[in-house]
């Protein structure tokens, strides 16, 4: 009896489905709040634009939650078609051989024209393999930017610092005007990874980890250590505010005007426009003049979309159709405008320019300009295993540097040692 009911229900369901004649594809993402609303809009637009596929977008929490959910679903052979994986988790999914279908193959198999050179330079190879084949489709791409409180800078009579040398001149004046000069929200991303990129320094052996998993981290170098020695000195002199590892706590200090300048993500722009009750501007990530060959382009942050393997050709075709829709200049421009994430293709950037968007809000262009700056040998990205835990190590050691529990040199020795231990483990796990 029960079986019969079930079969009847299945039959009704199947008929219902054929009536719609649309193949359903699922997309698990990590965009909540306002960003989630934009994702829903893009999904609805895609569904309205064609009738062959029906895309269902599901928010699975934050980046880590989404990745964990994807891993669990894949292991249970119940994976979605598309999953959003953040920058630091890219190595985990790309090195799990066969878990995903390279985006480039997927598009080419489904006769979607693909040319990697249509993507802006900072984005192009970040989620590619060592041969330059694109594995993950860049989605929400951001880059660290300096936000400044215009009134605070005017009060102190200083200009926006382009370099850290200029910052060191401005900081005492800002302090005299009653402000802590600077805070930033993500030490590993801003003051480690992007420090290396901005100064064109090698981050890890093996071509920043793209060529091999048998690699060593190169953080324990004088340029980076000197930077952190200066940061510690700024903190001790009251020029640098350290509000812990939480992103929000450091941003709040800027929103509440305790801190005159704050380094966050280009993707923070939209939210900041709503929360900050004062006039603020954006500028490029400062660099040390004379260190490496700064200034070079920064890395992107954010996340990309991966197509899980193990789905029917029909569903894969739907994924390709969606990726085609997503990379259209109009979609990218909409996404860029609503969220502050950078447009990932040159065509979308041109469209935004042509539409006069940057005349109307010039600050929105800084992120993409920074990513389009001249690239160097070490600015295309990194691919390091267990990098999420390496970031945890960095967070931990930054706490210790800032509260004086450890010297800068000791903290960097620990970072090097523990990061290399994690890289070894990753190599042993994934290389066979």
């Amino acid at each position: 009896m029960f079986r019969k009911t079930l079969m009847a229900a299945a039959a009704v369901f199947a008929i219902g489905n054929t009536a719609e004649a649309a193949t359903e594809i699922t997309w698990w993402h990590a965009m909540d709040g306002a960003l989630g609303g934009v994702v829903d809009q893009i999904t609805a637009d895609f569904n309205a634009s064609q009738s062959d596929y029906h895309l269902v977008a599901v928010n699975k929490g934050g980046y880590e939650d989404t990745m964990t959910a994807g891993i669990a679903a894949f292991r249970a052979k119940n994976q979605p078609n598309i999953i959003q994986i953040f920058d630091a988790g890219a190595a985990t999914i790309i090195n799990a051989k066969g878990a995903v279908k390279p985006v480039q193959d997927l598009l080419e198999e489904n006769n979607v024209k693909f040319d990697i050179n249509e993507y802006i330079p900072g984005v192009r190879y970040f989620y590619a393999d060592s041969d330059g084949k694109m594995i993950g489709m860049p989605f929400n791409s951001s880059t660290p930017l300096l936000y400044y409180n215009k009134e605070a800078l005017a009060k102190a009579g200083v200009d926006v610092p382009k370099t850290w040398q200029e910052f060191e001149e401005a900081a005492p004046k800002l302090k005299a005007a009653g402000y802590t000069a600077l805070a930033q929200s993500h030490s590993p991303w801003i003051f480690f990874e992007n420090f290396m990129s901005r100064h064109n320094l090698q981050m890890a052996t093996g071509n920043n980890g793209y060529d091999s998993t048998d690699v060593k981290i190169l953080y324990n170098n004088d340029a980076l250590k000197d930077h952190w020695k200066r940061v510690k000195a700024w903190k001790d002199e009251g020029y640098y505010g350290y509000y812990g590892r939480a992103w929000g706590a450091n941003q709040d200090a800027f929103v509440q005007q305790q801190v005159a300048m704050w380094i966050g993500s280009s993707g923070s722009f939209g939210g900041l426009r709503k929360s900050a009750q004062f006039d603020f501007g954006t500028s490029t990530l400062p660099y040390w003049k004379g260190v490496g060959d700064a200034p070079k382009s920064t890395f992107i942050g954010g996340a990309s979309l991966f197509a899980f393997s193990g789905h029917s050709a029909e569903q894969d075709a739907g994924v390709a159709a969606f990726f085609k829709f997503l990379t259209k200049p109009e979609t990218q421009y909409y996404w860029h405008k609503e969220t502050g994430y950078v447009p990932i293709t040159t065509a979308a950037y041109e469209l935004a320019k042509k539409d006069g968007y940057y005349k109307e809000s010039p600050d929105a262009e800084v992120g993409i300009q920074q990513l389009s700056e001249e690239g160097g040998e070490w600015t295309k990205g990194y691919r390091l295993g267990f990098y999420v835990q390496i970031r945890e190590v960095i967070y931990r050691e930054v706490d210790k540097m800032m509260n004086g529990e450890e010297t800068i040199d000791a903290a960097f020795n620990t970072i090097e040692e523990e990061a290399n231990g994690l890289l070894d483990r990753f190599n042993d796990t994934y290389s066979n």
Binding site: R75, A96, Y243, R245, F386, E397, K400, N403, R425
Partner: protein, 292 residues
């Protein structure tokens, strides 16, 4: 010769079956999986794996952050258990004495029980927010240089405070019912023999509460070991410098955020062993002193 034989009936087994099934599915099976995983190096998506014997355990035990976390867990658990039991015993004894409006007092004291650990963590986080937290401001206005963002001891204080606050109401309920279970006749007899209320408490009431106290000690240690995860994740996330990361929190960070299955399985196996030893110790050595 007549053999005594009991009738074996399937009925009792039928009654315990659901419980056994639940324990097997939700505890024994995952525990066995964890033990198995702890001997493997396997990529997160399960595409390849290899058997590595004790490599994961060696890596965990040789890591400085694990040792630090283990030490913190012990300090944290003992502090949470002892402090919350002490406070709630005091409150229960006082509430037991109240006659007028007793019900309202008791209800108010039990309220905290309804608060989930992550919510407690969130509340604590807001009260200790450096920019707007009232407790943060209050402590600093008393002249402490209180800064849990950077100072490890202050951070430990914050998580212990939240965890204790959350647990006091649970303990309170048990102590109160324990107190009300002490026969009136015993109390009256004690009052005739001894005038000092304090002495009566330590010689009569406290020993009679011993079973409750022992039970709560076990429950509270388990709580501090495992359930405070939500509090830590929402408030400090183990910072500064890993000073407030308990072992369970580390398992979560390495396993769920870091996708290192073997390493985090090895950590949970070690945790299982530690808790088993602790439980055996409690029942063998402390329970002996308890008179039911």
């Amino acid at each position: 010769m007549k053999r005594v034989q009991f009738e074996h009936s399937a009925v009792p087994y039928l009654f315990v079956a659901p419980q056994i099934l639940i324990i097997s599915i939700f505890f024994l099976w995952p525990a066995a999986q964890a033990v198995y995983q702890s001997f493997l190096l396997e990529d997160a998506f399960g595409m390849s794996s290899q058997f590595v014997w004790f490599r994961n355990f060696e890596d965990v035990l040789s890591s400085a952050s694990w040792s630090r976390s283990a030490i913190f867990t012990v300090i944290f658990s003992v502090a949470v258990a002892v402090i919350s039991i002490t406070i709630s015993l005091f409150l229960a004894v006082r509430a037991d004495e109240v006659i007028r409006g007793a019900k309202s007092y008791r209800t108010l004291l039990m309220w905290g029980y309804a608060v989930a650990p992550p919510v407690a963590g969130l509340l604590g986080n807001m009260m200790f927010n450096p920019l707007m937290g009232d407790l943060y401001k209050a402590f600093n206005s008393f002249g402490f240089e209180f800064n849990h963002i950077q100072n490890a001891n202050d951070a430990a204080f914050v998580v212990i405070l939240i965890a204790v606050w959350k647990q006091v109401s649970v303990n309170f309920i048990f102590f109160l019912s324990g107190l009300q279970g002490i026969p009136k006749s015993v109390q009256e007899a004690a009052t005739l023999d001894c005038k000092s209320a304090e002495r009566r408490f330590w010689t009569i009431t406290f020993p009679l509460l011993a079973p409750t106290t022992f039970f709560l000690l076990v429950i509270n240690l388990t709580y501090a070991f495992f359930e405070t995860f939500g509090i830590i994740d929402v408030s400090t996330k183990g910072s500064p410098g890993g000073a407030t990361a308990t072992l369970v929190y580390k398992v979560y960070v390495d396993g769920f955020i870091g996708a290192d299955l073997g390493g985090s399985s090895a950590q949970s196996v070690l945790l299982m062993i530690m808790v088993s030893i602790l439980t055996v110790f409690q029942f063998r050595f402390i329970e002996r002193k308890v008179h039911y």
